[in-house]
Point group: C2
Chain length 397, copies 2
């Protein structure tokens, strides 16, 4: 084992609080009214697609994120699919999205009948790089008929999806500026960034429409779940319609006016979400304190850094992320092995999208930064419970 690997192992072990048992990347925490609310659903019989917890969860999410509307969905993938449809993506279009993302971002594009067009990320935010995207668009795109088109494929470029990786906000201002110049709607994949702010405003409220995930590994979980966020009431109404089988009721007659989806979040899962949201501030504080503890421990280890929230942002530090200085596949593997062997769960970034067989032929920009990041990034244990001190006490550890 190299000295660097050994130093990393010791720092993660200390940062995680010298755990004795296997330590997962991110465990949910149910320390509030989760059981009460879920039992309430069962006692009243309201467990399914209609119920007061769904309405409340949507209202609470809108309030927490500062977006005017939230539409709860069965998961984040479903939220992304509908967000793309609501942003105007149609079959045969292209959608710009980072190669460095979870497969759901690209899959959702396919569900909408569109083709992913992969773009590069930057090392500071791990999100879409505005400068690289600008050059790429100048090289391959043209504006006509009020839209943006790929000159090579002839297809319309219908949206840009920006993903806030591991909770760190992307550079939204320059990305929005670029989208305005090129007439491309911006969609935020905010699956990982609940509780993350850009210039003081919650992520997910910058794009035309965006998606959250409440999967079990996320900061807030509903078992499985997600939400669509938007500030446009017409888009919110359309998202609600599409996620509820596009049903129109007229007395006891139901019809459906287009192909819709059963993407409703059950009330049972929304109940869990309501209880979780009551405690999110406390969970976010402890996650931040944990990140600060890791940061202090990694400050003096040469060859590796803890990824910090970008300037002008507040990150939820969903998954604490180490970035190795060298592009060294062997070192990367060695560190991953050492951590996992020690029971400290560690993961590389997802296999880049352009390397997956079903997207091998998709159009793409130069992706060299993402390719380098793929051998540099390591996620380490990040559960709020690893920083167990009472809320507020941990900021200066």
């Amino acid at each position: 084992m190299t000295t660097l690997t050994n130093s990393i192992l010791e720092a993660v072990r200390e940062g995680a609080g010298f755990p004795e048992a296997f330590t997962p990347l991110h465990e949910p925490e149910f320390a509030g009214r989760e059981e009460d609310y879920v039992a309430d659903c069962i006692r009243t019989g309201w467990v399914s697609s209609v119920g007061s917890f769904v309405d409340r969860f949507e209202a609470d999410l809108a309030e927490f994120t500062g977006c005017s509307r939230a539409v709860a969905t069965v998961n984040g993938t479903a939220a992304l699919h509908i967000a793309l449809k609501c942003s105007g993506v149609q079959a045969g279009d292209e959608v710009l999205l980072p190669t460095l993302t979870f497969v759901a971002t690209a899959n959702a594009t396919s569900y909408a009948g569109a083709i992913p067009h992969f773009v590069d990320s930057e090392a500071t935010t791990l999100a879409v790089c505005p400068e690289a995207l600008r050059s790429h668009l100048e090289e391959c795109a043209e504006k006509r008929d009020g839209g943006c088109f790929n000159r090579k494929t002839g297809r319309r470029i219908a949206a840009l999806v920006v993903m806030h990786a591991f909770g760190h906000p992307a550079q939204l201002d320059p990305l929005l500026e670029l989208c305005r110049e090129w007439s491309i709607p911006l969609v935020e994949d905010a699956a990982e960034s609940l509780g993350s702010y850009y210039q003081g405003r919650h992520t997910g409220g910058f794009g035309l429409v965006s998606a959250l995930s409440f999967n079990g590994n996320k900061i807030l979980t509903t078992g499985g779940g997600g939400a669509i966020l938007t500030n446009d009431p017409a888009i919110a109404d359309r998202a609600k319609h599409l996620t509820t089988t596009a049903r129109i009721s007229d007395g006891w007659n139901f019809t459906h006016d287009e192909i819709g989806y059963n993407y409703r979040l059950p009330n049972l899962n929304a109940a869990l979400g309501c209880a979780q949201l009551e405690r999110i501030t406390d969970m976010l504080q402890r996650k931040r304190a944990l990140a600060m503890r890791y940061k202090a421990l990694f400050k003096d280890i040469a060859g590796v850094r803890l990824l910090e929230e970008p300037q002008g942002t507040e990150s939820n530090y969903w998954l604490c992320t180490l970035v190795l200085e060298q592009f060294d596949h062997q070192l990367h593997t060695e560190v991953l092995s050492a951590l996992n062997d020690a029971g400290l769960m560690a993961r590389p970034v997802w296999t880049l999208m352009h390397r997956l067989p079903m997207f091998a032929d998709a159009p793409r920009a130069d992706l060299s930064c993402a390719e380098r990041l793929a051998v540099q990034i390591i996620n380490i244990p990040s559960s709020p419970k690893l920083f167990a001190a009472p809320a507020g006490a941990g900021g200066d550890v």
Copy 2:
């Protein structure tokens, strides 16, 4: 109000046990270990896409239905989508399905990129009519290259979906025979027929693959949920793969070898399902007793009948169904109004699929029986709790 309407109103009121409050069509019943199991998920932290209740629910479903494998899904619509894909349906194919069904059957066909081809139902089972289908295929289909093709559109006819309406099993033997003759795989939409048997075998086990739903209005609910049933282990494995993002893991590296879906049932919802399944026999008995009580009450009312389980089948009587003798739109509306106005929830059948705008151009057979049934059918309150006597006591009421 006509005398017939009045007699129907009084019989439904009596059958439902002279309820004092508003009486829904079908309410879930949580009288077992639902709260315990769900609390267990929260206490152990296993609420999400992996967990022991998911495994147990799949095993319990396989055992209950007698199918070799069950794959739990996020809902019945998702199960149908994947069942169609697993039966070999591809983009551009046609799928035969009844116009008399819930919109999910047709939507799932569209999600797979295929075109619904609507066929007629019969008055005895309300399901696909084997004779009408035989004539229709003779008229429009031809066999070539080992498959069945629509001579008019040139498209492959890739599957037949049979839906067991309101729990009454379709005539599976003649339908299977027809499918064999024409080399068309049979898929069962068994969303409504958990606990229904054809010739002693559970529905859902006859087709190549089939779909169940555990929506809040179904006999067994998981909040939202569904399952894929099959006796083919390769299909089950593929269904599991497609519903879990088509992920392949190799140590800490994850890749995805095709476009997959996040159609996993959360452990929290599976926990509810396990508790519900423990009590299904009791719920089925009381539903049957309720149906027998309605049957006795309707026996002597001329002009209307209670739809009975077809010969050779055992129905779960999911939704008790009245069939008016006349094709009289006005009478149909009058009965629906009278029941709903009296707080006894009643519903016509779904708007027929070929009448929905998005399927207006889809190919179709003669649909005159379904069109007549649409003004004859009325569903009436059918919750097991309406027959509150202890299990077993009600069969001879």
